[in-house]
């Protein structure tokens, strides 16, 4: 019985970190542009396809695996730059509902393009040999699980450090808080926004590469993580990286314990949490400091 709980806890943490990897870019884009990007999940999916196209079904080494993920991040980041120049930048002038619908249109475009380019086949990718083993820490846990946890924590640490302590992070925060004032003191706000949107997109491309192993790579890949990532970003407080991290962890754990306690109804608890949080605390559990 304890083994089952321990197992569920580890699974929950892994799921939480995976969700955070997807949610990080989403919450960053919201923080900067005040746009909730519905298309986020499909860029995750495209990142996964790109990584698969580079490394094939059986990546030879861990470095190659990471390199392929970085390449996917680069391409998705470039797409992010284009998306900002052509679409996202202009949405500051339209109402919230319309910008949600515009990102939905981007979702349709990218899913259609993915269907045309990658086809409807389902692929499998194995983790690189270095991550294929199983560690015994009382219960068997794959090295790949540790790898996902490490990546999630690393991305979180980098973002926290970068946004709060490095000059560029501070510039981003200045632009996000008060674009008018930032403009007045001579910051190039459009360029800063462009770069940070590119970086956020790159992040989800990277997530696509990192998480591609051990799942069936299909056009639906984005959907499963996307809703959990949405939920984490909302529950964590829109625009807050720390909030998204903690909420993703909460969702991962609850989702995992849900499958132990209520095996006939997987997935219901996280929606219950989301609905309760929105109704009781619409600004999220860990809102951005204003």
């Amino acid at each position: 019985m304890t083994a089952q709980w321990a197992f569920a806890a580890v699974n929950g943490v892994v799921l939480g970190m995976a969700v955070f990897l997807v949610a990080a870019g989403l919450t960053l884009v919201f923080g900067i542009l005040r746009i909730f990007n519905f298309a986020h999940g499909s860029f995750f999916m495209i990142g996964a396809y790109l990584a698969h196209a580079i490394m094939g079904q059986e990546p030879s080494t861990l470095w190659f695996y990471l390199l392929a993920s970085l390449a996917a991040a680069l391409v998705i980041g470039l797409i992010g730059l284009i998306a900002d120049r052509i679409v996202l930048r202009r949405l500051s002038r339209v109402s919230n509902d319309y910008s949600l619908i515009a990102t939905f249109a981007i979702l349709l475009l990218t899913e259609g393009a993915a269907k045309l380019i990658f086809g409807q086949d389902i692929y499998t990718v194995y983790p690189p040999p270095a991550l294929e083993g199983i560690a015994d820490i009382g219960i068997p846990v794959t090295y790949y699980s540790f790898f996902i946890i490490a990546c999630g924590v690393a991305v979180f640490a980098l973002l926290e450090l970068g946004l709060n302590h490095l000059w560029f992070g501070k510039l981003i925060q200045a632009v996000a808080r008060d674009p008018w004032m930032a403009d007045v003191i001579g910051l190039r706000i459009q360029r800063i926004k462009l770069i940070s949107v590119g970086a956020s997109f790159a992040l989800v491309g990277l997530a696509g590469g990192i998480l591609v192993a051990n799942q069936s790579l299909s056009l639906d890949l984005g959907h499963s993580y996307l809703l959990l990532a949405f939920n984490s970003v909302i529950v964590g407080g829109l625009g807050s990286v720390r909030g998204a991290f903690l909420a993703a962890l909460i969702f991962g754990l609850f989702e995992s314990f849900n499958s132990v306690l209520l095996p006939s109804m997987p997935g219901t608890v996280s929606y219950a949490i989301l609905i309760a949080v929105i109704l009781l605390k619409p600004e999220g559990l860990f809102p951005e400091r204003a």
Binding site: A105, L109, F230, T268, I275
Partner: protein, 325 residues
């Protein structure tokens, strides 16, 4: 006058369609009529109450599953009563959801909350054996209508097609009557400036809940029409992609006009039909058009037509009087 002519032409085309098109296309046209009513119900929320629901398929699905379950399990309820029951169930659910949701949220939270609720409903349906789990309810037979002494057989596709046409026309007419009356104007006032409307003594929350309930009931009615037409109802009826359909139709056709969603629904069906041979092309076309609509012409097809009509009128007769919508 021009608009009246267009509506008459549209109805005439739908009336005559069974004589000219094959069964596959007839099915598509019937489906599009249902989608149009579904989209109209969404736009009632969006245009007249200023609420963008991203989970409207929940109500559509409730209606579809309610009627489907009655047919599938041979529950002895007359078909018309089943349709009305579905609408009532959809309206009741929407009323409850509206009270809870509208108490706290607007904007992005409302979007995500409605999306989450519809996903939760979808999950619960997929866990219910009564509703066929993930496989849904299939082999639904088309019913007979018993109206006192009169009995109409709707088993044949053409007969049921006309039934859809009659119901959709009636619902559309009722909705048009509703929104052009005082209630519709009150709602419009709430959308345009909720604060000022409240100062005028309008109970904003009550108006929004009313719109939510009505939209839910109409969406459920559209769903219940769908069940015997497609003869299978599965979980995709409730999915978030289905929730997107009325939004796409409304935006494409023009959210600023009553007829926008109808135009948009047919435009979507048209695009889908002509790009059906190439996977992915229909998404790219719809996505591209939608993006162009949001960025260039937020009033959609009908708005574009109006502004062109306005411009030609301007050339012919000088500026038209202000104040007409």
């Amino acid at each position: 006058m021009l608009r009246l002519g267009a509506v008459a032409l549209y109805l005439a085309a739908l009336l005559l369609a069974p004589a000219f098109v094959d069964r596959g296309l007839l099915f598509l046209i019937g489906l599009t009529m249902v989608q149009a009513v579904f989209a109209l119900s969404w736009n009632l929320l969006f245009r007249y109450a200023g609420l963008a629901s991203f989970g409207h398929a929940m109500f559509y699905g409730i209606g579809a599953y309610c009627t489907a379950a009655i047919i599938f399990h041979h529950i002895p309820v007359p078909f018309l009563a089943a349709v009305l029951l579905s609408a009532a169930l959809g309206g009741l659910t929407a009323f409850v959801v509206g009270i809870i949701v509208l108490a706290r949220t607007t904007g992005i939270q409302l979007a995500v909350l409605t999306l989450a609720l519809s996903q939760l409903a979808l999950l619960l349906v997929s866990y219910s054996s009564f509703l066929g789990r993930d496989d849904g309810l299939s082999g639904l037979t088309r019913p007979r209508l018993e109206l006192g002494a009169l009995s109409i057989d709707l088993t044949a596709p053409t007969a049921y097609y006309y039934f859809i046409l009659v119901v959709c026309t009636a619902v559309t007419a009722a909705l048009l009557w509703f929104v052009s009356g005082p209630r519709g104007r009150t709602l419009l006032a709430v959308r345009i400036d909720a604060e000022r409307a409240a100062f005028l003594g309008i109970n904003v929350k009550r108006q929004r809940i009313l719109a939510f309930t009505l939209a839910g009931a109409i969406a459920a009615l559209a769903g219940s029409l769908l069940a015997p037409w497609s003869q299978i109802i599965a979980t995709d009826t409730m999915s978030w992609l289905t929730s997107a359909q009325p939004m796409l139709a409304t935006l494409l056709g023009g959210a600023g006009s009553f007829w926008g969603p109808v135009i948009g629904a047919f435009a979507l069906a048209f695009i889908g039909y002509f790009t059906r041979t190439m996977a992915g092309l229909s998404e790219i076309t719809v996505g591209g058009i939608l993006l162009a609509v949001v960025l260039i012409a937020p009033a959609g097809i009908s708005g574009l037509a109006q502004s062109i009509a306005g411009r030609t009128r301007l050339l012919a007769r000088g500026p038209r009087p202000e104040g007409r919508s």
